[in-house]
Amino acid sequence: MVAAPRSKGASAARDLLRQMRKEWTAYLFLSPWFILFSVFTLFSVIFSFYLSFHEWNILEPQKPFVGLQNYIQLLHDSLFLESVGNTLYYTVLSVPLSMVLGLLIALMLNNQIRARGLFRTMYYVPVVTPLVVAAIIWKWVYNGDYGLLNYYLLKLHIIGHPIGWLSDPNLAMPSVVMVSVWKGVGFQMVVFLAGLQAIPQEFYDAAKVDGAGVFNRFRHVTIPLLAPTTFFVAVISVIGSFQVFTEIFIMTNGGPVNRTTTIVYYLYQTAFKEFDMGYASAMAYALFAIVFVFTLLQLRYFRRREVEY
């Protein structure tokens, strides 16, 4: 009576093993992915969690367990808090701006116009430009003494004297944002354009029959039917903007007075300049938590506004 279920379990296990042996090539085919995945994802996620509870400096032989100390320290680290604030500021400026611009350009290109492909390509060129190169070009454009931007703004009498865009504490972050927007709008445009083209013309025709004007058609047809695309773009952009690094590294080095020190920039400094890997891992988990919360918030927001026609 006791033996029966056990042998049943044993034969099930034998079956499983036999099946696994029969399909052994499947495991072989998956092995390149699985090996890298276990090392660089599964193990790394756990190891990084472990690190975040230790005082772990590459240069120190002692790596003591410190419990939650790293996380508590984060909450009291004014530079970290400032970096969170800076990152949020960057996100709040760059994501809506690039989404609105991307949508506007997509709307304009979604007409029967000549040279549509050419326009699209031109708007997409910055996306193809390597980020390092983009940052270098803009560093020159922003240059206080002989930069292009100052030249044209002075010429148009918009400003009275040259401005140090990247050295002014209040202007540095918006200036960095402009570079990211310039670099990213083309991508958003292409995704929005695809979303717009997927909206059936009948909806517009029906709305017109019902007497809806341009604005109402945009409001009641385009916006709701574009919502899945908008959600997708918003999520991708927010996740990307929380990880902003290269523009900062090349153009401002986190300055002036830490005004452009973002979370990832601070994390980089902590982990690879000071080699304080435990503390940096806690930062990485904090970043993960923030990104996660923001993604959930967006999901809820868009769920609530979902419509079906």
Binding site: E23, F37, S44, M108, V128, Y151
Partner: protein, 310 residues
């Protein structure tokens, strides 16, 4: 605005004829405005890029001249020659090309092999493994960054390490470190698997009846049918690797192992003054990905629109 002009244009000819002259004129007015805005936008968007090209063929003196000269007075390619004469610069390009091409080739092979196995094979553990892969895709790279660095540092028997991975720098500061961790991608597997759903199973069954083994089915039946997806993914992977800055910045420290992006970034720190060389370097660093984009545009735009690849 956009919607209105679209109406004005897309409606059939007969409707247009029935329209009053006034509304047609208004449509034309909108359209002119549309072109004006689009062209102004393009000019602003392209200006920094165009300036890079102009500056790259100017002498330093001309580059600093006010007003900025958009059309070079004495165009010269000396900047390019001089840039490549700098120590290791040519090597950076070879490094980038080698790393980007290796990663692309490995990813195309490993990703498609895994995608095929997940989509077309039935084996114990298939569902949980795939779910595990999907579930971890959202984790930001920064979370695994530090462990990845430490793991590379302690790869045994490389870079002066002993059997226990102690004593040297392992795969840090090496091609291995640049290539190996990037040689397969969960996102790539996911996308290719989606694409492979369109490959009919009957085709695979027919090949099996003809005596083809599982790998042969993958290689001779499935892969050829996935060429459009593979092509798009290949370009994306190459571009991503060519442009990548963060990872090389972290693991590479020797000048001769720099990638182009890392080299450029350190070059402008070291040589704050020779902007014309920096611009020449920037142009060359952009060319491979720009050319790849222009050649395969149609393909890529479709891929971006469908998947959000960048």
């Amino acid at each position: 605005m956009a919607v209105l002009s679209r109406d004005a244009v897309t409606s059939s000819a007969s409707v247009a004829r029935r329209r009053s002259l006034g509304s047609r004129l208004r449509g034309m007015g909108w359209k002119l405005l549309l072109y004006a805005v689009l062209i102004a936008g393009v000019m602003i968007f392209i200006a920094p890029f165009a300036w890079m090209i102009t500056a790259s063929v100017q002498s330093l003196e001309d580059m600093f001249s006010w007003p900025p000269s958009w059309i070079p007075v004495n165009p010269t390619f000396a900047n390019y020659a001089q840039f490549f004469q700098q120590e290791n610069v040519a090597r950076w390009f070879l490094n980038s090309a080698f790393v980007a091409i290796s990663v692309t080739a490995l990813q195309l092979f490993f990703n498609s092999l895994a995608a095929y196995t997940f989509e077309k094979r039935r084996f114990p553990g298939r569902e949980p493994l795939f779910l595990l892969m999907l579930g971890t895709m959202m984790i930001p790279g920064q979370v695994t960054l530090i462990p990845a660095y430490l793991i590379l540092k302690h790869v045994p028997l490389f870079g002066g390490n002993n059997l226990l991975g102690q004593g040297g720098h392992g795969w840090l500061d090496s091609y291995w470190g640049l290539i190996a961790p990037a040689s397969v991608s969960a996102f790539g597997i996911f996308l290719l698997r989606q694409y492979m759903k369109s490959v009919p199973n009957e085709l695979l069954d027919a090949a099996r009846i003809d005596g083809a083994g599982s790998f042969r089915i993958y290689w001779q039946v499935v892969l050829p049918l996935c060429m459009p997806a593979l092509a798009a993914m290949g370009i994306f992977t190459f571009t991503y690797e060519w442009d990548d800055f963060f990872w090389p910045l972290i693991i590479i420290s020797s000048d001769n192992l720099f990638t182009v992006q890392l080299g450029l970034a350190t070059f402008i720190v070291k040589n704050r003054t020779i902007w014309n060389l920096v611009m020449a370097g920037s142009v060359v660093a952009t060319l491979p990905v720009l050319i790849a984009f222009l050649l395969f545009q149609r393909h890529l735009i479709k891929g971006i629109a469908l998947t959000g690849l960048r």
